[in-house]
Each structure stands twice: as structure tokens, then as C-alpha cells.
């Protein structure tokens, strides 16, 4: 998997911490590997929306990568509940179902962005950079081979 210029938190230079929520272990592992290539850190994982809320409270991540179709509680509802409780939360929806009304519903209920599966690492990287805004900083951009 290709390497990207490391993205860190501006405030303390520490790795960006991610909560990955997906009912597919395979999808979670895949996202975790991408996060690693971005220089990020996996703060926690959850397999459904209800567990995501609990994990958010426990880990207080910088970014949540949230699937939509999941058992127990779907991703859009979980995103809404997290943002209601933590207005600063940055939730990025990651789903194979990317039709317009789904995206609009997610954004209206608090998600910051949407990435369609299969996830292209370079797309996710740009979305993370955009969502982090001034709270994120790209380090060693001049390093050989880094994007």
C-alpha cells in the first residue's frame, strides 16, 4: 500500500486518532491499514452504531469513519447521536451505498463528509485533510516518495 505524507494534529503534533465503525471486520482492517499509511492511530473500533457511541465516549477520537448499513443501529443515526452530544465530532460516512438522498441525510444529521466504497486511499486522505482543516497538519511533505 502506498505511503502518504504523515498527517498530524496541529495542536500537539500527535497522530490523528481514528474510530473506525463497520460491521465488516474485513472493512475495518482495510481502513485501519489506510490510516496507518496516513500516519494516524487507531483509537478504537466498533461493529455497529450503538457500540460506536460508547466507543466515541471512551476514546474521544479526532475522526470517526462510519459505515451506514449496520445491525443494531445504522451509521446515520449513530452519527447524529454522537454529534448531538459532541458538536465538535468529525464524522465521515464510508459506505458503498452512495446515492444522493443517503448522502444528504447523513450531512443533514451531522456528518462532515462522505466517501464511497471501495475506498480509494488517496480520496480518503484528501477527505481527512479537508475535514481536519486547520486542526490537521501535513508533515514531512518533502520526504521522498510521499504524496
Amino acid at each position: 500500500m502506498e505511503q502518504f505524507a504523515t498527517m498530524r494534529r496541529s495542536k500537539d503534533g500527535q497522530p490523528i486518532r481514528y474510530l473506525v465503525v463497520d460491521d465488516s471486520v474485513f472493512a475495518r482492517k482495510n481502513l485501519a491499514r489506510m490510516i496507518e499509511t496516513f500516519g494516524g492511530q487507531l483509537a478504537g473500533e466498533a461493529g455497529d452504531g450503538a457500540a460506536a457511541i460508547t466507543e466515541y465516549d471512551r476514546t474521544n477520537p479526532d475522526i470517526v469513519l462510519m459505515d451506514i448499513t449496520m445491525p443494531q443501529m445504522e451509521g446515520i443515526e449513530a452519527a447524529e447521536r454522537i454529534v448531538q452530544k459532541h458538536p465538535e465530532a468529525r464524522v465521515v460516512m464510508v459506505s458503498s451505498v452512495g446515492y444522493q438522498e443517503n448522502i444528504v441525510a447523513a450531512l443533514q444529521r451531522g456528518a462532515r463528509h462522505f466517501v464511497q466504497k471501495p475506498v480509494k486511499p488517496e480520496v480518503l486522505y484528501e477527505v481527512i485533510k479537508y475535514v481536519m482543516g486547520e486542526d490537521g497538519a501535513v508533515a514531512n511533505a518533502a520526504a521522498g516518495g510521499a504524496k
Binding site: 458503498s96 452512495g98 471501495p118
Partner: protein, 166 residues
């Protein structure tokens, strides 16, 4: 069975597999069958209900599933039944999600049910209503089988006959 309902699934499978495997692939065979489905390996079945009703089955032999998982993850992964099942399920989710996106943007609304393991040796006997398109993709990781049975729901058909969506 209407080809306009099937085509988005073929396109989505082509796109998802080509991107995930990062190698060229070809359609090995394509036929219509009314016979009961005989699975080749580990099969995931996803049902759709709503304007369009039917089901899609993805089917990979375990060795192919492991190779696909490793290609998708870009890493060596330990072989296990869970990995094989997860790979087939995730593949089904991604292909169907992308196809559903296309169909939804065309105005069709339906519910995608979570994938279930299709572990019977044979599927239900087909009929005119459940005629299925059977195809496989030849990939560098092995053959990936897809079986699609899809039709407009009765309500949808009536709606179209009454001058609904074209």
C-alpha cells in the same frame, strides 16, 4: 428479466473488482438459467425488496476468497473461515451498494437486506419469475461467480403500466 436492472450490477462488479484487485478481469461466461443455483464455494446472498425485487449471490471458492482478501487489503492475511466469509460478504456489499446507488439515482427505491451465508448445496428451484443471470469474472485471483435474479415488483410494474417511471 430486464437487462436494465442487471447491467448496474455487472458494471458495479466490474468496477469494484478491477479497483480492488488492481488487475484486468474478463467476463468468463454469461447465461440465463432457471435451474436451482449450485454454489461453487462460499456464497453470500443479498435480497432486495421494493420497486425492484430479487437477489444477488456472490460465490467464491475459499482459496480465491483468501487471494481476493489479500489483494484488497494489500497485505498477507492469515487464512481462516472468518476471513473467507468476511471477504465474500464485503465484496457483495460493495458491488450491491454501488449498483443500488446507480438504480436509486434512476429513481428506484428499495431496501437492501444484509448478506446471509448461502450454505445450502442447492438453491431454490427456479421458475419463470426467478430466472437468473449466471456469470463469472475471470480475475488474477481466481473466478468470482455472480448470480442475479431481479424483477420489477408487482406494484412497480403496475405503476409503469399506468405511465409511471419510464
Amino acid at each position: 428479466m430486464k437487462m436494465e436492472l442487471i447491467q448496474p450490477f455487472i458494471n458495479a462488479a466490474d468496477a469494484v473488482l478491477a479497483q480492488g484487485l488492481q488487475s484486468p478481469l474478463a467476463i468468463g461466461s454469461l447465461s440465463m438459467e432457471e435451474e436451482a443455483y449450485r454454489r461453487k464455494g462460499v456464497a453470500a446472498m443479498v435480497r432486495l425488496t421494493g420497486d425492484i425485487e430479487g437477489r444477488v449471490i456472490f460465490d467464491l471458492d475459499p482459496a480465491t476468497a483468501v487471494r481476493v482478501a489479500r489483494r484488497f487489503a494489500g497485505a498477507e492475511l492469515p487464512e481462516s473461515d472468518d476471513l473467507v466469509r468476511e471477504t465474500v460478504f464485503e465484496l457483495a456489499n460493495q458491488v450491491i451498494g454501488n449498483a443500488v446507488t446507480t438504480l436509486n439515482d434512476q429513481g428506484f427505491h428499495f431496501r437492501v437486506h444484509p448478506p446471509v451465508l448461502h450454505d445450502a448445496e442447492h438453491g431454490e428451484k427456479g421458475s419463470e419469475d426467478t430466472e437468473a443471470l449466471v456469470m463469472w469474472f475471470e480475475t488474477s485471483s481466481g473466478n468470482i461467480f455472480m448470480n442475479i435474479a431481479m424483477q420489477y415488483s408487482t406494484v412497480q410494474t403496475k405503476g409503469m403500466a399506468a405511465g409511471g417511471r419510464g
